[in-house]
């Protein structure tokens, strides 16, 4: 039979998929299912609620359809045939009622979750804080195609690596010099747009020491794929030590050197740089400059030929 052939062909592929899933499901590679911070935890909580509700409806509907397909298959004489039947008030009430109730129920959680994870004031973090609570502030400046993390409390900055103390809420202000990029650490905090001439915020809090992947989640041009950064969550003592280490770096960032730093650069070799000094207010300075029309245009050749651009980049000793 036709269908038998279809199944015979499809079965090995399905087995392969299931095999892949089960061989790796517990390896922690499903970042969204393996949150390590309060923000990401909350995201997952809402995902579970939503999938339970919607999954029940969708699942039951799918089963219903399959059952009808089986029962009313012509010639099998399993169900009775009513050639004119096309209306039933009771069913109409149910088919409108179920989605309305489900959406009403989910709407409550949608609003609640939006406030809990409001990037400007995520109550899942701030509700446990007092004005005296310890916190770390980080000013995030995205360029084409690097991240600069400025620690205003320590007057220092780090390129392409984010280090934060554990058990301490971290608050970000974010802006970009050129185009829109996205700040995303899948296991810690969801995405937020990082836009030129504008300031967004986000925050994270975690009790898990570890190293997490940060990603540029919005397409920002040729170097996006390499615009990743490691996020290290370290014990408080280790953090203090690390700050000392950065403060000892010979490199400093000035407004002039930032101008050069912000030129298009593809971070293929995952360069990390420590700047022991940063002028206060660099973040606002950059934002104001961009609003006044400053841009860091992309050399035309870069968009045409990447390999040649990489050669130029090394020739300029920017690696």
């Amino acid at each position: 039979m036709y269908m038998n052939k279809v199944w015979r062909l499809a079965a090995p592929w399905m087995a392969l998929l299931v095999g892949l899933w089960s061989s790796q499901a517990d390896a922690g590679i499903f970042w969204i299912f393996d949150p390590k911070g309060v923000m990401a935890d909350t995201n997952l909580k809402y995902m579970i609620i939503d999938v339970l509700v919607m999954g029940a409806i969708v699942g039951i509907t799918a089963l219903l359809v399959v059952w009808f397909m089986w029962r009313y298959h012509k010639g099998k004489n399993r169900g009775s045939y009513h050639p004119e039947w096309s209306h039933s008030n009771a069913i109409e009430v149910v088919v409108w009622g179920i989605p309305i109730v489900a959406v009403g129920f989910l709407a409550y959680f949608a609003v609640k979750g939006t406030f809990e994870l409001n990037p400007y004031n995520p109550t899942v973090i701030t509700k446990n804080m007092t004005p005296q609570s310890q916190r770390v502030d980080v000013d995030v400046i995205a360029t084409d195609w690097q991240w600069l993390f400025v620690y205003p409390q320590y007057h220092m900055a780090v390129a392409n690596e984010l280090v934060l103390p554990v058990d301490t809420p971290a608050f970000f202000r974010l802006t970009s010099t050129s185009v829109t990029s996205g700040f995303f650490i899948p296991q810690l905090v969801g995405m937020i747009d990082v836009m030129p001439g504008m300031r967004t915020k986000n925050a994270l809090y975690t009790t898990h020491v570890g190293e997490y992947q940060g990603i540029c989640s919005d397409y920002a041009g040729a170097g996006t794929s390499w615009m990743t950064f490691k996020t290290k969550i370290v014990p408080q003592a280790e953090f203090t030590q690390w700050v000392q280490q950065v403060k000892a770096s010979p490199k400093i960032m000035t407004e002039a050197s930032f101008d050069r730093y912000a030129e298009p650069y593809i971070n293929v070799h995952h360069r990390v740089a420590y700047f022991s000094q940063v002028p206060d207010g660099l973040f606002d300075h950059v934002m104001m400059e961009v609003m006044d029309g400053k841009t860091w245009p992309i050399p035309p050749m870069m968009t045409e030929n990447m390999v040649a651009y990489m050669a130029k980049q090394s020739a300029e000793h920017r690696d």
């Binding site: 995902m47 359809v65 397909m69 298959h73 030129p196 920002a220 040729a222 390999v307």
Partner: protein
Amino acid sequence: MLVDLPGGWNPLLGRLAWSQIPYDNPILAPLFVAVVLGGIAIVALITYYGKWGYLWKEWLTTVDHKKLGVMYIIIGLVMLFRGFVDGMMIRTQQAWAVGPDSSGVFGALHGYLTPFHYGQVYTAHGLIMILLAATPLLVGFMNIIVPIQIGARDMAYPYLNALGLWITAAGAALIMASLFIGNFAHNGWFGYAPIFEIQYSPGVGVDYWMWTLQLLALGTTLGGINLLVTIIKMRAPGMTWFRLPIFVWASLSANIIALTSFPALQVALGLVAADRYLGAHFFTAGLGGNLMLYTNLFWIWGHPEVYFVILPAFGMMSEIFPVFSEKPLFGYITMVLASFAIAGVSWLVWLHHFFTMGAGPDVNSFFSVATMLVGIPTGVKVFNWAFTMYRGRLTFTAAMLWALGALFLLLIGGLTGMMLAIPAINYMVHNSVFVIAHFHSMLLVIVYAVFGSVIFWFPKVFGFKLDEFWAKTMFWLFTGGTVLVFVPMYMLGFMGMTRRLDYVFNTNWHPYLLVMEGGIVVYTLSVFAFFVLLYVSIRDRVKNRVGADAWGTSRSLEWLTHSPVPFYNFAVTPHVNARDEAAWRRANGIAAVQPAKYVDIHMPNNTPVALYIGALTFVLGFALTWRIWWLCLASLVAIIVLMIVRSYRGDPGYIVTAAELERMEREAIARERQVDGSAGEPVVGGAPAVGRPAMAYERSDLPKTSTPPSMGPGAHH
């Protein structure tokens, strides 16, 4: 020049120069040679068989809604194929360029596409699939089916209809031209602001993207106006609103969306043009520009657009299920309400495409709840299809399989859409491949519905059925591809993989990317199955001939006229008695009754003007892209002159006489009787036959022929 452009410019050729031809590109150059050879071969074949006259008279200058619809569908299928090749390139790059150790060729660090080239491929893929595959396919079906379903002779404005087609074709030609002359945009199909600004995209790519979109928006708007007027004004007597076939309702709601939303896109792109051509600062980061304004404007069109394409697909499914369940659609009124509810809410949800923009929680909450409201009518539709099957008698023909596939995909797409609608979830998966998987589930609903419709309505348009075996084989292969590509894609979304990566930094994702590549291979097999399907069906066409009612259980009005549908659709405008007219007449034993007498009918003339204007819009788009100002002006003036000339001449149309009509009808009936004996002898005094002029005015001095004369702009009466 008001803006600084890198590279040269000269008054004669604008930015065009030999260096813009990518003859040294290892992918494009061979492709170009193949295209040229293919083109020469086609031209040679047409010449050899002496078909130029036929092509000109029957297709290029036609205003017949069915032929225009067929051409829309051909454009849609060709572009679907082009988009598929783009998709294949994307998948191959991602399966290859994984991890720092992966190799690179053709100047790419990893894989075979440089980021800039890769960006062009996915930008073209998205734009093509939504605006040049899904849209023309659906517009094509609406064009063919809607007038027949409401008992009209043609669209309200046949010439406008042709114009819409040729402008769409011009858009397709423009995006194809970008392959070989210059390059295309890399800013994503929806355009990332401010990447499309001149500082970040100094080449012509963005200009190609922008003018292609403008042309397609224009063509679709013209088509939308036409369909709306047709549905409102051209219904046969007795075709009251609540007897309209459900596909017509779907088309009506879809085109209301199109007409109200496409202008937003055109304005947004007009402002982009101001930035790029006049040095304005609407969407720049500095100098008072606001880049999120673009994103808002785009999605104010973009979200309604996705419903513009899904609603007709829902309409198609609503036609297919009843026919193969052998009973009427469950909850007709509910279906209508649901379509309009979807259309209405679709204007209020655009912000869900950028919840992560950093709007406050009030704004995000509003758009979140509004988005979830769309889920209600969508859910209702699914339930109604299920209950259409309930108590039915189901035959699993290929068309039914495609419709069922669409239904299951809609369930998955709806589930994931409802996840994305909640900001607390969206923040984690927005801009990840999870979103890609969501909207491909949804867009595949359209593809499934379209293939179902191709099989379902093919016999109506061409008079013979497609081969069931190959149609089913194609279905299963296609479905295999869908599972293999999109199940891993959902998984990758949960692994945090973001979209648009041309280099994949996480090697854990590699196995999944390889499975997806396997899925692409299976998809490719289904493309072959489609070609075999066409070949086998055309080879066996005599065997597969059908009568008026191709499926034997058909329900709506289009199944009452002959297959293939004659150019005048119905010999006598039918009088409609019921919601499912064909089923009603069959039940009352008058399906085969022929009209008592024939009357003269009035048909529109052919015209090449639409083709000329379409070609000129291509020239205009090309000239704008390359900033060849004199050519812009010349083509614009030519377009305006042609429009004025044509407007003054009008189209008096021509008359098909009653006698001629009767002769053609007898022939058609005789042909059909050979097939299934369904059409009876002409019965005098049978069903009520009401003649009605198809056009707004009647004149007695018109040429009387049975083939449409052509009216060039210079011809005289």
